[in-house]
């Protein structure tokens, strides 16, 4: 009998018995996250089925990130109703307007421990896999069921391992690495699998980079993604003052992977996904004659402090190209505070960036930064589907924070190495 993958171990703990990929299990997740764009619907489902008490209110966390501050009376009322919902059911964790994106807040506060399971009504819940926790996105009706019963079934997924080697060259980032991987594997490359990142190259990637990798495994069709806990993981929690960590879940050396895919970080170049698919990826340098109107820096993919630092490195002493606007939406209040304290925010604002309240921002076209007809945006987010940023007649290109910032300076899609000397 072979050893077990990280996912098999995590599901085994949850199920209370040893389970393998392919088995169906009913589990009670450690954490249940719900967001402002889903809570209204969830409340409706609960009411329709006469649910008056929730199974585990202490495990529920609400986050207002998709449209906070509210942009319409309807959204304002959904926010208000969510607060009343929380009060009524004894949900004492509510991250209100300006706190930031669920995945970012849950990671940076250390709320979720390695080996725990989080479900959330959001596709990019697997971002938290960077800390060794298993995050999975579900729909609003499933969420209502989970809130009511405390249980949910899963088929234990198989695992695709990505074996990282080498190290990133200057101005090549984790975003470029994951875009390269998505180009190779395509949007269906890991359907319903766990994407597990490991290998000797992992040790040289910081937590922010790891979150970007896990975040975009979603775009491979993955059920979730995980990073094997290591010294970086331990340091992340130690920095949060956690001296006692749970036993870190690691894959057995003889566990069974569906496939092992090599990814040499040294060969990664700045990459860009063209409209309207995330796997429509080319080198940034090939797109140098694509003029842009908007640059967007933010999201659960690349709205972290480290990303803002990269942007500031490029924008310091420069101004945005005429005719270009750049919107910066920090992923969380903590990211915003750090950016202010360190002077990064001032550099961005001086360059002409429009800095918004922390949250999901323009990513899904639900908040500030919607595009006009025929407008072109280079975005640090994770998706460029038709109409993603609010307009079916607009074009969204995806790149790293460095590529986004360099493009904002030149007014066309720009490989950051063009602007920098290294």
């Amino acid at each position: 009998m072979s050893g077990r993958t990280m996912a098999e171990k995590i599901f085994s703990r949850m199920a209370g018995r040893e389970v393998r990929a392919g088995e169906f299990v009913e589990v009670s997740p450690d954490w249940t996250f719900s967001l402002d764009d889903g809570i209204g619907l969830i409340e409706k489902y609960l009411a329709a089925h006469g649910v008056t008490t929730l199974a585990h209110p202490e495990r529920i966390v609400l986050f207002y990130d998709h449209y906070a501050p509210a942009d319409t009376p309807l959204h304002g009322t959904i926010h208000r109703n969510g607060r009343l919902f929380a009060r009524r059911h004894g949900i004492f964790r509510l991250h209100d307007v300006g706190d930031g994106i669920s995945h970012q807040v849950a990671t940076e506060t250390g709320l979720v421990q390695p080996g725990q399971v989080v479900v959330n009504t959001d596709s990019h819940t697997m971002t938290i896999g960077a800390t060794g926790a298993l995050g999975m996105g579900i729909g609003a009706s499933e969420m209502a069921f989970l809130m009511a019963t405390g249980k949910l079934w899963f088929r234990v997924p198989t695992t695709l391992k990505v074996n990282l080697t080498g190290s990133l060259a200057p101005w090549a980032t984790a975003k470029d690495a994951i875009l390269s991987l998505i180009r190779t594997l395509t949007a269906r490359g890991a359907t319903y699998r766990i994407v597990e990142f490991g290998g000797e190259g992992l040790g040289r990637l910081d937590m922010a980079s790891r979150m970007t990798l896990c975040n975009m495994a979603t775009e491979l069709g993955a059920k979730s993604s995980l990073i094997e806990p290591d010294a970086c993981t331990a340091a992340h929690f130690a920095a949060l003052g956690r001296t006692e960590l749970p036993t870190l879940v690691r894959p057995d050396s003889d566990c069974r992977y569906d496939a092992i895919h090599p990814l040499d970080l040294s060969s990664v170049q700045p990459m860009v996904a063209r409209p309207h698919r995330v796997d429509n990826v080319v080198a940034a340098s090939e797109l140098h004659d694509v003029a842009i109107h908007q640059a967007f820096l933010g999201t659960c993919t690349n709205g972290r402090y480290e990303d803002l630092v990269v942007a500031a490195g490029i924008l310091k002493g420069r101004r945005l190209a005429p005719g270009v606007r750049m919107i910066v939406t920090p992923a969380s209040r903590e990211v915003y505070r750090r950016a202010i304290r360190s002077g990064v925010l001032e550099i961005l604002a001086d360059a002409g960036c429009t800095v918004t309240t922390a949250g999901c921002g323009a990513c899904a076209g639900m908040h500030q930064g919607a595009l006009g007809d025929q407008e072109v945006c280079i975005s640090s987010s994770s998706r460029n589907f038709l109409g993603r940023m609010g307009n079916r007649n607009a074009l969204v290109y995806l790149g790293s924070p460095a590529t986004v910032s360099a493009s904002a300076v030149t007014g066309r899609i720009t490989d950051p190495r063009e602007l920098t000397t290294h």
Partner: protein, 417 residues
């Protein structure tokens, strides 16, 4: 008989020796101040068949009311505005990240000058009367002005509002205007030009003078004007886009009325829903719990306002049940606030700072209230449905009261904090 500032400016711009209240004149305008609301009159403008605006250098365009675009409709109007600006060669265009609320951008960049006429689409175009200009809103009827550089006026009567004395701590121009509104009502100065005088006005910094003129429109006034003095000139020094001539009222000018306000007798005021003229002294407000605080707008979104808020929020936390939405009035206010450490204070206190612009004021952007929610706002209007659904309520106050209320969770005078 002597003449008032409005009469003199209109006479000069209408090329008449003198005009009197009630006269109809056609006057040249010096500047047209616009936001992305420009997009709303493009069909009107094109129907006039002129093709070109009268003078692209005389237009200033700063998208601020719906920016950054929150939806398709906002993006559509911003894009049409950009396209028109390019097509017409309008250089005084302030993209987000460079501009902010049109009135602040106009003043900051020296486009509002004594003796000149500024018109615009926005009700609060009157704000820059603080610089001794005649600043008037044309609503959405400005397409002919874009084509011709002219518009017609009925010459307004002029009222004198004399504000004397030294304000108590935490009392400012906002309170003077809420008091005036409470005394005279929303129609107290219908179609009049208000000229502000008195020791309070003399001593007031420009930031406070803008507030006086900004709120004049809430009393039904055509505009508000502060006669230029050395403070006006100091503000314009190095900023004015062209030479100008200061216009003041004659000593024997004919004022239709005079109102005297003793500012020393005022405590901070709060305008109750749903009218700016519902002002009461804060000591009479009672216990009003709030859900949201909005700091910003063309009334009180200047750096001086942010400094006051920061001085109160420093070392304190926003009440856990309250959210504070702060939008600096302009991008230069934003960068200045960053430099001075004000943004750090706000962030530490738990304030959500948004980008420069009109923000939550009119419910056009973010910071919209939910059903039955209550906000206290530093803006100038609290009409039913202004900042959210009709069931929501808005109280108006000065920045200090807004900040103190943010900490307390209910409407509170900063003196009681």
């Amino acid at each position: 008989m002597g003449k008032t500032i409005a009469e003199k400016i209109l006479a000069r711009h209408a090329n008449c020796p003198a005009v009197a209240p009630g006269d109809y004149v056609t006057a040249d305008v010096d500047m047209v101040v616009l936001s992305e609301g420009l997009s709303l009159v493009l069909e009107d403008f094109r129907s006039l068949g002129r093709g070109r605006v009268f003078d692209p250098e005389r237009l200033i365009v700063s998208p601020c009311q719906t920016t950054p675009s929150k939806d398709l409709s906002a993006a559509f109007h911003s894009l049409r505005t950009r396209q028109f600006v390019q097509e017409q060669g309008i250089r005084n265009y302030f993209e987000i990240g460079r501009g902010g609320i049109m009135h602040l951008v106009t003043a900051e960049n020296g486009f509002a000058l004594p003796g000149e006429i500024l018109v615009g689409s926005d009700s609060h175009t009157c704000t820059n009367g603080a610089l001794g200009a005649l600043c008037v809103s044309l609503g959405l009827g400005f397409a002919p002005t874009l084509a011709t550089g002219q518009t017609w006026f009925k010459v307004p009567h002029t009222a004198r509002v004399v504000v004397e004395g030294a304000a108590r701590p935490w009392v400012g121009a906002k309170d003077v205007m809420l008091h005036l509104l409470a005394e005279k009502g929303s129609d107290g100065f219908l179609y009049q030009s208000i000229e502000f005088y008195g020791s309070f006005v003399r001593d007031a910094p420009m930031s406070e003078r803008f507030v006086l003129c900004n709120m004049a429109v809430e009393a039904g006034a055509k505009t508000g004007i502060v006669p230029p003095d050395e403070k006006t000139l100091a503000y314009l020094h190095g900023r004015a886009k062209r030479p100008f001539e200061v216009v003041t009222s004659d000593p024997d000018a004919d004022f239709i009325s005079e109102v005297l306000i003793d500012v020393a007798a005022l405590e901070p005021l709060v305008a109750l829903p749903d009218n700016p003229a519902n002002g009461v002294p804060i000591s009479q407000v009672g216990h009003v719990a709030i859900d949201q605080v909005f700091i910003g707008s063309c009334s009180n979104g200047r750096i001086e306002d942010l400094r006051i808020c920061a001085s109160i929020l420093e070392g304190r936390q926003v009440h856990p049940r309250v959210r504070v939405v702060l939008m600096p009035g302009s991008h230069s206010v934003y960068t200045q606030a960053a430099r001075e450490g004000l943004l750090a204070t706000f962030a530490a206190a738990g304030v959500s700072v948004g980008p420069a612009g009109c923000g939550a004021c009119a419910g056009f952007n973010v910071g919209v209230l939910g059903d039955g929610e209550r906000a206290i706002s530093t803006a100038n209007r609290n009409f039913k449905g202004r900042m959210g659904p009709p069931s929501s309520q808005v109280y108006l106050a000065n920045p200090a009261v807004a900040a103190a209320s943010a900490v307390a969770g209910h409407i509170l005078s900063p003196a009681d904090l």
